[in-house]
């Protein structure tokens, strides 16, 4: 089982390389690792973002943002990013990071963790379901779709 650990500001370059690789692999735009690293240094120095790394050398990363919510005393966590490099998948790196996510969220008094998962990505959905996530809100009994609006 691979180990995961909480990242610090000093890990910004490694995290940024993995995020850049993540977006490149899936055809998403990326400003390049140096700009991502600069953004991460700011974010990780503040309270509302944390990140983790797993594997040695680093083969997986995760990025979490926190925000307030009127229904919960503690913050709500959104798992913005979770990535394992292709040739290290299937060795428990993702699971190690999800377990660290749970531990860190409990320590921060988070009672709700959210993720937006592509509808076509059934393997990723299976992974999250196995770790206790659901696409059905227990209060409403409803599934929800993610809507977005980009401002120019």
């Amino acid at each position: 089982m691979e180990r995961a650990r909480l990242a610090t500001v000093d890990d910004a370059d490694v995290l940024a390389e993995l995020l850049h690789d993540f977006n490149t692999e899936f055809g998403a735009p990326t400003p390049g690792a140096p700009l991502i690293a600069a953004s991460l240094r700011d974010l990780l120095a503040a309270e509302a973002t944390f990140a983790f790394l797993a594997g040695s050398p680093a083969a997986g990363m995760g990025l979490v943002t926190l925000r307030p919510n009127v229904w919960y005393d503690g913050p709500v966590a959104l798992l913005d990013e979770l990535y394992v490099v292709p040739d290290r998948r299937g060795h428990g790196i993702g699971t190690a990071m999800i377990e660290l996510l749970m531990t860190e969220c409990r320590a921060r008094e988070v009672r709700l963790i959210e993720i937006n998962v592509d509808e076509s990505d059934v393997d990723v959905q299976r992974f999250y379901r196995r770790h206790g996530f659901s696409d059905v809100d227990p209060d409403s009994g409803e599934r929800a779709s993610y809507f977005l609006h980009q401002l120019g």
Copy 2:
């Protein structure tokens, strides 16, 4: 056309009554308006939450939370709640609040606004589409489902 305005801490009681009515109407749990108001007073005094009211007397409310994101210089906004009381629907109150949402987000340098919409709620989905929201990510071309995990 009804007017919408940004709420202040002094509006916490009115906002809370509407939020309580919202949850009651849709069968969602609510801790009651006084506890909601106490939470709102804390949230609205800080930077990461803003709210609006519309109508006179108030017939609609919205609640927005902001969080950082590695891909955007400014914060990302989530429209957590948007409610119009039943007997005042169909008079542009929701539209007035969405237009204020856009104005306030631009003023805060928000480039991405998000909403999670129940899959069965086609009227609500139509409302958001009409206001420029999409359930297809322009980068990935994918629809995404909202997954959640509540921690005990």
